[in-house]
Symmetry: C2
């Protein structure tokens, strides 16, 4: 049975030694001192460790069931949700006006990492509610907000996001769901939505669906899409629940993983809905919080990698098989533990160095989101917007790979469901797909973000790297192991960006053929930067006489691994990118 | 519902245009002319397309069930097995003395690719029977062979391989199963074996278990292991089935995939067994056919990649989503098909170029196996032995990656089980694990094979590459796109081999830390060589006025993709390898 150990020390290190959040002048950050974040994260970690991970396999095995329109969630999910609700965790970052605690986004990221590590399928219920809350909070009328938000902040009512239709995934312009004005200011919503996570379940009194649909007579394509609130139960003036609305779950999907989450086909039949924001401006409203939502999915990649790694480490320590080629390590036992073998160690280092780098990346991204949202810092917003497809795409691609590596360490025992290694792989797989499949993230990055605001944000990123290298130029220890490889990787990325700038105007396919490679190249450079920053912080801590010497020395050795063995992938990515469109588009579509 | 199209044209191309098997002087190859192989493969392909693939999802969904000691296979499996048996497919490569057709191994490889593509879980039943047949055929007494082989050749009786025990996977020296001499020449086998594929089922009259166990008083460790035949039902002198033997399936494992195959815990309780070969020489006997068995698993990696790719291509042609950035391709439809998008094309090219390269690699490896077995060619045997861990490890690692890439092209539809994309991923996953996990393959390659016979076989491989480049030096078309990248990749591989030779004597961990990287580096160089040979064959065919111009031009374009975009990975692998043991072994085992 898998277990989960909250990475409290590492979160503290990144928040305070590396990002120094308590010194930031972003509003709200002054409260985030070590004691405060430590206390919050300790409590959040206990829930992950004691409440959520024990239910992870239960959710996978039992899944959700649909009977007579009622969806039952796995045993124990409702009780766990009550723990989350009663602890106030659902409103951590929400507006105090609606009952939230108004904490900066970064705290939710740190809490969220632990909760999605321990139980991804479960965490989608409050997670999607939070997404719906954000969209309503940003765009709905005060009346709608007052009516729906307080109960969504507490998760007494949960939320959903309804975009996809059977024929219409990424290309939302193909949408067919209709919203007819009812004459009283409300709309009648009709259509079918698919892949609706948490669309129906038995853990909340009401479910507030956010639905994209077209008002007849509006513009074609995505410009004619509007956003609506469609509650499962209508809400009376006094806040009491009224009649059942015309929305129902028609089917649950059989999926590869996240079985604990109900993935619903939702049928809308003249359901009463309320316009959020302006007519035909629904897409903008739905995607306002896109950076945060995508960062949240990147967090899932990290989270599944992290919990899979932790359990694999335990297995390689306990499983005795073979002997260390350099000399017996466990002379009293029949064999040495798996962890003595270099290729096992190589795999664990891949995982560990990715996970810790990814954690720093996501927390750094969260500080930028907060700086944008809370301090109105446009540069920070532009930078995180640029990096959002990398956070989502790179971290979920790699996160999945890491769960596969973790599973591999179990040998045959990883393939049977009993050990739980397979579930981490199957659950992690979805994060590469939803919230914009990773190919779409790469397209967004290279086709749109890279050149946005005249390339200002990518230049700002290169400046950050350059300045860090320059500022630490005199540090010989840092230079050899961290700054030199970072510089080389950053140069590869610059060369790739230059290639795109030169080629894209002539042939967009030359740039887009290398889009996934660039997303990975960018991801590696960011992780290289994170490792250089972490190494610097670790060195400083050691120089300042930090007591936990082993922690900081481990940090440095882990970083050296990343810089030496993972970061050089940038050269391969650059080589691929500069082959352009010819190899990729060399065949006619009929030739496959 | 997934479909499967037998790659008949491509098999014909590799067998006859590239490998020119009909011109080989390996005994039996003279019969393998185009007409003959074409006729056989056409029939085998029909079974894959019409009988096996329709049952693939059935097997996944229903799985196997155990009730009162009886294992039921999924609906339709027995009828499919009858088709395979009646067609004589189970004895294709078997000794005519025992009812086989005595065909070279390579023909079984080509047939096998199609059958494992269409239904991996099903194909394990005859596949394991063939493995058990081979071990018995090579090592058992004439009496045992006469008693068991004829019915195993026809698969009236199926076979299993029993190695693993709960505490003992790769490290067979830890084995506890015992074989006590019964006094009449037979033995009493007692112990528990796990992960026994096809250990119990309802598709054959008898099951012949090959079981490794220790005869008390023998040497410690692997030197005290003997091999036994343990039939489910004892066989009387007249060949009729006698009493039930003391062996039973105690449990079926819940697995990530290959649900159609019964993965059994087998309990032996003083079961009657017959020694195969000599006492204490069981490991050698069991592993005689190891190269062939591992090549068979490599074939599974290729097969799952191939069928996943085929279905993904269809999906990307049919699914309309978004528009080609260079201009609308489907003006009459609401959107263009997915296949117009460069990142989709990139993924399909990754898959296609891997699959066709892997097919050539495995078929080349099969010619070497045949040359070793049928013509006693020791050099061929040494070379294929060197490459066996690459065939197994590289092709299953990459094969799995390709199924993941194929699944990704479906977006959310790939995550739900309905489309079948998930099953290919889940089924392909096992091939990285069984028959020696890929980390063990890498260890075998770098720790043992590389230096075997004084490094003679790796030198022979480099000679083959060098000679091909030299022989075609004047061909400018081949040179730029194929020979130059092949030369660079081969140089990377030589540098890695030199590094190992220099470092391993001082520090074995320096070599073993790069073992998985070397396995991949080697794999890419072989695929580069295969693509260069295929390109040459395609050019020659075009020059000779071949009618199917599109096929050969597609082949050349696909090869150019591999050389330009996949092969450069060798440089990254070399860079990792030469960082040696320091980054990998930089942390104490306690620091993870």
């Amino acid at each position: 049975m898998p277990t989960y150990t909250p990475p409290l020390k590492d979160l503290d290190f990144v928040l305070h030694d590396v990002l120094r959040v308590h010194e930031s002048d972003t509003p709200g950050y002054a409260d985030l001192d070590r004691d405060f974040t430590g206390a919050i994260l300790d409590e959040a970690g206990k829930i992950a460790r004691d409440v959520l991970i024990p239910l992870n396999a239960v959710g996978d095995k039992e899944g959700c069931t649909l009977e007579n329109g009622v969806v039952r969630t796995p045993t124990g999910f409702k009780e766990a949700f009550d723990v989350i609700r009663e602890g106030g965790w659902t409103g951590l970052g929400a507006d105090p006006e609606y009952g939230g605690q108004g904490m900066p986004y970064i705290l939710g990221t740190a809490v969220g990492e632990m909760h999605v590590s321990a139980n991804l399928a479960f965490n989608m219920y409050p997670g999607l509610t939070n997404g719906a809350y954000e969209a309503i909070h940003a765009h709905a009328s005060d009346e709608l907000k007052a009516k729906f938000l307080p109960k969504m902040v507490t998760c007494e009512w949960t939320g959903t996001m309804n975009l996809t239709e059977p024929h219409c995934g990424t290309d939302l312009g193909l949408m067919r769901s209709k919203a007819e004005p009812a004459g009283d200011g409300s709309y009648k919503i009709t259509g079918q939505k698919i892949f609706i996570s948490a669309g129906e379940h038995d853990m909340a009194d009401n479910i507030i669906h956010l639905v994209l649909a077209k008002i007849p007579g509006g513009p074609d394509g995505v410009k004619g899409i509007s956003l609506f609130i469609v509650p499962k139960f209508l809400v009376n003036e006094d806040g009491a629940l009224g009649a059942r609305n015309g929305v129902a779950c028609g089917m649950l999907e059989e999926k590869m993983g996240i079985h604990g989450n109900s993935t619903c086909v939702m049928n809308y039949d003249e359901a009463e809905g309320y316009l959020v924001g302006e007519e035909h401006k629904g897409l903008r409203a739905m995607f306002t919080m896109m950076n945060a939502a995508r960062l949240g999915v990147g967090l899932q990649g990290l989270g599944q990698a992290s919990v899979a790694y932790q359990n694999a480490v335990e297995y390689t320590r306990e499983r005795l098989q073979g002997r260390d080629v350099t000399g017996v390590k466990n002379p009293d036992g029949p064999a040495d533990p798996l962890i003595v073998h270099p290729d096992v160690r190589r795999s664990l280092m891949d995982q560990k160095s990715f996970i810790e780098g990814a954690r720093a990346f996501i927390l750094w991204g969260s500080t930028l989101l907060d700086a944008g949202d809370l301090a109105g810092d446009k540069d920070a917003e532009g930078l995180v917007s640029l990096m959002t497809p990398v956070i989502k795409g790179f971290l979920t691609d790699k996160g999945f790979d890491m769960t596969v590596q973790a599973q591999q360490l179990y040998g045959g025992h990883g393939y049977i469901e009993e050990t739980g290694a397979s579930q981490f792989v199957r659950d992690a797989r979805i994060a590469m797909i939803y919230e914009g499949a990773n190919g779409v993230q790469a397209l967004d990055l290279v086709g749109r973000k890279l050149a946005s605001d005249g390339g200002k944000h990518i230049m700002a990123f290169f400046e950050i790297v350059k300045n860090f290298i320059k500022d630490n130029d005199g540090d010989e220890a840092l230079k050899t192991d961290f700054l030199t490889p970072l510089k080389a990787a950053s140069k590869d990325m610059q060369a790739a960006a230059m290639y795109f700038m030169a080629e894209a105007p002539k042939n967009p396919n030359a740039a887009l053929s290398g889009s996934s490679d660039f997303m990975h190249l960018f991801g590696h450079v960011v992780l290289g930067l994170m490792w250089a920053r972490m190494a610097k912080a670790a060195q400083d801590a050691l120089a300042n006489g930090a007591s936990d010497v082993a922690f900081y020395e481990t940090k440095l050795a882990t970083g050296r691994y990343y810089m030496a063995r993972s970061l050089p992938e940038t050269a391969l990515r650059l080589a691929r990118i500069t082959t352009g469109a010819d190899p990729v588009m060399g065949l006619a579509a009929e030739a496959f």
